[in-house]
Symmetry: C2
Subunit: 230 residues, 2 copies
């Protein structure tokens, strides 16, 4: 074969060895992702405002995993890819404080701006359209991707759960960056990373978390999405 | 057993014999649903502004199916359950003109307010929040449910396709109404009707159609959703 093999939409880049930083890794979603990426062999740095709390969160994930804690600035500087899993409340301020450290990097936003009342969860309006678009507006020198919105923190952290039957929708305007994040999603057994559109279509993916919460409540489930025919 | 069996979230009411009206049944999505419900044994009335066009659309679905065409007002009056599959452009005006006929009935909105440009599809803003909420605001005497947003018209109309691997998200504030529409979804082989939340969470389900269009383009697929763990 002298011709290069045709690239298909299912091809994934090799992401082995990438060092992953997780801002907000002291929360359940961030901690759960940290655990799964560490289990897959990635070096993971949990970031928090205080290094000590970050290290406690890393220790809580169990012994023998390649996870450590650091202050947010250090986690952002040292990692190759940075996942943003901070509470929506502090989203914009945290990112503004890390613009320099995140410049040139792939930043994966998985934040769901959500409110709760007696009737359950509902999406909060976001001036920029979505958390991911807010990240892109703040981090003009980074490659912002949206992904991992619908992964159940409970399942990520559950030592009895070896596989997660779930497709991670990966959104962004930079093809190579979304492909790389699709590759990261595929590192977690059972998960696929499926391209889900441009950043301008991130709002409904974030907001859909409210529907999954309703589904979980009605069916007593940890619901996720699969995309059929793909 | 003297005690009544506990009702589970998977229980479905018997919807056999329900007569289904489809406003906008001359379009692909409405026509496709008409075809599938007729194949499942339901009497279907396709509605259009002109009875003649409606009858042509009914005839186009093939011989031997229990589908006929009628003017919108007649379709709305005669049906037990009415599906709204009109273009977003005429959505509000059509419903306003049918308030009396639709009073007391279950009205199933499956309209996706969508715009298109060079970068693909994107959700249009809706003053009421979503097409379904607009329907509820107009049809104050009806029981409005949102469902069937993500079914591929092409697959619905394809005579080679016997089963559609797809979960239909059914949203609404009236439990009995959403259960009945879940029962209707289950009449189409391969489909499940899954409760997906209240009407206030319909926007992101409608808008998610833009993401499915992006997915279809990238993967050359007719993508649908499955909800896992349910």
């Amino acid at each position: 074969m002298t011709q290069e093999q045709q690239k298909t939409p299912h091809d994934l880049p090799d992401v082995t060895g990438l060092k992953i930083g997780i801002l907000g890794g002291t929360g359940d979603q961030g901690g759960g992702l940290a655990r799964r990426f560490a289990l897959a062999g990635h070096e993971v740095i949990i970031g928090s405002r205080k290094a000590e709390r970050a290290q406690q969160a890393a220790d809580a994930l169990g012994e023998g995993l390649p996870v450590r804690g650091a202050e947010n600035h250090a986690a952002a500087s040292e990692a190759d890819v940075v996942i943003v899993a901070v509470p929506w409340d502090g989203h914009k301020a945290t990112l503004e404080s890390l613009r320099a450290e995140l410049a040139g990097k792939i930043v994966v936003d998985c934040v769901n701006p959500m409110g709760f009342d007696k009737q359950g969860a509902f999406p909060l309006p976001v001036e920029e359209g979505s958390a991911a678009q807010q990240a892109a507006a703040v981090l003009t020198e980074s490659r912002v991707v949206a992904a991992f919105h619908h992964v159940s923190a409970k399942l990520l952290l559950d030592p009895e759960v070896d596989e997660m039957e779930l497709d991670v929708l990966v959104l962004g305007d930079d093809r190579d960056a979304t492909d790389l994040v699709r590759g990261l999603a595929a590192r977690i057994p059972g998960m696929r990373g499926i391209y889900g559109g441009r950043l301008r279509n991130a709002h409904q993916v974030e907001a859909f978390t409210a529907n999954l919460i309703s589904i979980n409540r009605r069916y007593k489930a940890h619901a996720g999405l699969r995309i059929t025919d793909v």
